[in-house]
Symmetry: C2
Subunit: 147 residues, 2 copies
């Protein structure tokens, strides 16, 4: 099952630091792991497991396993926009939260700080601590509202 992190997201700025973190935690650093991590650093955008597997010529199942491992270590997270596969990205580097236009598919990112008042509203209303990081906020973008 796709998991929330087991540990707090550590700080890391590049592949070497990420690798160091994993090593400190006693994880094995296989070639595939390094490649997957590297692919995430190189991609400017959230990527699908399938995209990574194809790009690297690795088995899809292994990519999913690696992504889940990284996710448990707090190095990676993934977001669900409407249907379709989850999108994976480095956490820490890309902690933005997403708005997804259900009509045209447009994606808009917001910084966590910008959404804080929204979270605050929800907190007041319900006591729930909303985490928009996992499911994008679905709605309609300005363009599609005009249409």
């Amino acid at each position: 099952m796709t998991q929330s992190p087991d540990v707090k997201a550590p700080d890391f700025a590049d592949l070497d630091e990420a690798v160091a973190i994993l090593r400190e935690r006693g994880m094995r650093l296989s070639t595939s792991r390094r490649l997957v991590l590297d692919a995430l650093f190189r991609a400017g955008t959230p990527v699908t497991a399938e995209g990574v597997a194809t790009e690297l010529g690795l088995d899809l199942a292994s990519v999913y396993r690696n992504l889940e491992t990284f996710e448990r270590q707090g190095l990676v997270r993934h977001v669900h926009f409407g249907h379709g596969p989850g999108l994976y990205m480095l956490s820490g580097h890309d902690d933005r939260e997403y708005l997804f236009c259900e009509q045209c598919g447009a994606v808009r990112a917001l910084e966590p700080a910008q959404l804080e008042p929204v979270r605050e509203q929800i907190r007041k209303l319900s006591g729930y601590e909303a985490r928009f990081a996992h499911f994008a906020i679905v709605g309609r973008c300005p363009d599609c509202q005009r249409a």
Copy 2:
């Protein structure tokens, strides 16, 4: 594909009114359709397609087809909480929006009016018109925050 409604949600208070609406629109009122609709009226809570199929002894595929038909007619909508199957409910009757605790699974419903300020914030921030009706807002409930 699971669709947004093709038409505005009509008003209907009971099975007969719902049936009347469908009939006006030239849809056939098969026994199964009536049964599925009735099951939704009887259920106090959002239900899965599977639950309906099992309860009624209908084929799962047909139930999905019927639910989608109703959804296109604006009579039904479905929401996704974390993983797992979508939950279907009558629209109009149950237009609330949901908060889902990703840790314990607790569900909390809010009236659309209550969430209006939240939508307003998001509108100001991004121009997006958020529709929490399709994906629940995921977060942690008060109990799980304590834990």
